[in-house]
């Protein structure tokens, strides 16, 4: 196993499309790193650069301490799992798994051993004689993973491997891949556009946008302390609420003031926001950080009165779409919460979990 280091990696496509821009990243040995971002953010291109399937425009890539810029994919000691599985249709499952080993002139006994080992781990032993067209989507995905496992490579690369599976199977495969990572103790770089996949599987997450890294950190830090509005809105489902508003000074503290409610920030934030007094900012809070006012004693300075516009019961919880003055936002309340459309409700914000972003730079002030 090995670490992967990307230094100033840049990829420019024909017609000057910058897909990846001066990308610096260190993937430690045995780490499960997830690259996440919206379509076209350059995450797949980055992965393909690591694989050697794209020629890089500038920068350096090291795998296991070795500079691999000019080394072809087959000699990089990596294995890759593709979104559409990319199994060889004319070969049966056994041959699909053994193909890479045969090309490396491995002994027949060893090939046989490895194929059966991998097939056992992935529970596809009974499918070894079948052709890919006789497999279901989930089985094909297992074979694709198996093809990577048998090689015992230094680094595994996954390019949105679960996005072609149905929702139930995706959840199942997610757990299996996480388990696999623990068993194999391998370095994994995993690309996805699904933030749930990123949060549940990654030990480290890289959020990307327009070819640039937005934030690199562990899942919880990403969730609790997003560095900018993009990360805050991208991570979390339903996404964080944003309200464009103004910061005003109120006695010893600063407050977020809209036409219909005022949220007084705690004094420890004074220093951070003092320079923004009287200016426009974006106020952010997550739907789950709103709680019903009943039973809350000190709701002074953190209460929002809002009208219920839409109710979405999910069984385990309820999403409320709310309006307050000109602003719209969502709340996530327990499943036993009783309300109806058009009714006015009072919700209290958890002040510890609020965020304020600069309107222009979109960077987090806190």
């Amino acid at each position: 196993m090995a670490e992967v280091v990307l230094k100033e990696l840049t990829k420019v496509f024909d017609g000057n499309v910058v897909a990846v821009d001066k990308f610096n990243l260190e993937v430690k040995d045995k780490e499960f790193l997830v690259l996440v971002g919206p379509s076209g953010c350059g995450k797949s291109t980055t992965l393909r650069c690591v694989a050697g399937l794209e020629e890089i425009t500038e920068g350096e890539i090291f795998i296991g301490g070795k500079l691999v810029n000019d080394i072809p994919p087959k000699d990089r000691d990596i294995a890759m799992v593709f979104q559409n599985y990319a199994l060889y249709p004319h070969m049966n499952v056994y041959k699909n798994l053994s193909f890479g080993l045969e090309l490396r002139k491995m002994k027949k006994d060893e090939i046989n051993k490895r194929v059966h080992e991998a097939a056992q781990i992935l529970d596809i032993e009974h499918l070894l004689d079948r052709k890919p067209k006789a497999l279901s989507g989930g089985q094909r995905q297992r074979v694709a993973v198996g093809r990577a496992i048998v090689r015992k490579p230094k680094v595994f690369l996954f390019d949105e491997p679960l996005s072609n599976l149905d929702a139930k199977l995706r959840v199942q495969m997610r757990t299996e891949l996480a388990k696999l990572h623990q068993n194999l103790q391998a370095t994994i770089i995993y690309v996805t556009h699904d933030q749930v996949e990123a949060m549940t599987m990654g030990t480290k997450i890289v959020v990307m946008k327009d070819g640039l890294i937005q934030q690199v950190s562990d899942p919880l830090t990403l969730y609790d302390f997003p560095v900018n509005k993009f990360v805050a809105g991208f991570i979390g489902s339903p996404p964080m609420n944003f309200i464009d508003t103004e910061i005003v000074k109120e006695k010893d503290c600063y407050a977020i003031k809209t036409d219909s409610f005022t949220i007084v920030l705690t004094p420890d934030k004074n220093k951070l926001v003092s320079s923004y007094a009287g200016k426009r900012v974006t106020f952010g809070f997550r739907p789950e950080d709103l709680i019903d006012e009943s039973g809350v004693k000190d709701k002074e300075g953190r209460l929002i009165r809002a009208r219920v516009e839409v109710i979405e019961p999910l069984g385990s919880e309820i999403y409320l779409h709310l309006s307050s003055g000109k602003d719209f936002f969502m709340a996530r309340v327990p499943h036993h919460y009783k309300t109806e459309i058009g009714k006015e409700v009072g919700l209290v914000v958890d002040l510890e979990k609020t965020h304020v972003f600069d309107v222009e730079t979109e960077k987090a002030i806190f």
Partner: protein
Amino acid sequence: MGKKALIYVVLIALALFYIFPIYTLLNTSLKTDEDLKYGPVAPTHQVFFGAYTKAFNLIKKQLLNSAVITVFATIISSILGSMSGYIFSKFRFKGDRVVFLVLVLGFYIAPQSILIPLVIFMGKIGLFNTYLGLILTHVAYGMPITTLLFRNYYEGLPQEIVDSSWVDGCGTFQTYTKIILPLSLPGFAVVAIFQFTNIWNEFLFGLTLTRGVTSQPVTVAVANLKGTTVAAWNMICAGAAITTVPVVLIYIFLLKMIIKGLLMGSVKG
């Protein structure tokens, strides 16, 4: 009901129109010399195979020539077209589009315009009136269309399969032989039918690049069945009918190979 009947009438009329030349060809080929005077349309009074034996004896050497030239030229141009189609479809290199365009433009060069230099050139390199000369000419003339057909076929092959083979350990050529080639059977069938028909039916190169029967193709031989003084139409038609048989057979045989869904299961189905 009336509308349906009308459609059938039109369809039958079109079918008859299409079949008519084939009817006159077969009808005439089965006539005796005596019967010829009633013209090609009037049904033959007596089925007579004599014209076939006569024609076959006159063109059998050229039939063999055509078979050798067509089979080799078809195989070579299909393989070369498949290789270049693979490169143009799955590789990006500087100027790839221009090179491809220039190659495909070759398809539009009228054979007549290059006849004189071609004949002189073949003479100079000693390939005039040889199988190899005609094979090379057909291969060169076939490259644009075989490359284009294969490139389009490979565009339908997911890039990921190729990527995957590279990660698995294949080089450029191994990917071609181990992955691309086995998946190309339907593509080869299409290209082979196209090339076989074209080369078998080709007349101009056959006429100009050969002399005598040594390497003369059958199309030229059939044309020569028409004597200088009398035209034995039953024999000419019999020769033409014989010449059509291999193309029809190849078509039937290769059509079976164009199996749909050969790729099913490789990617999301």
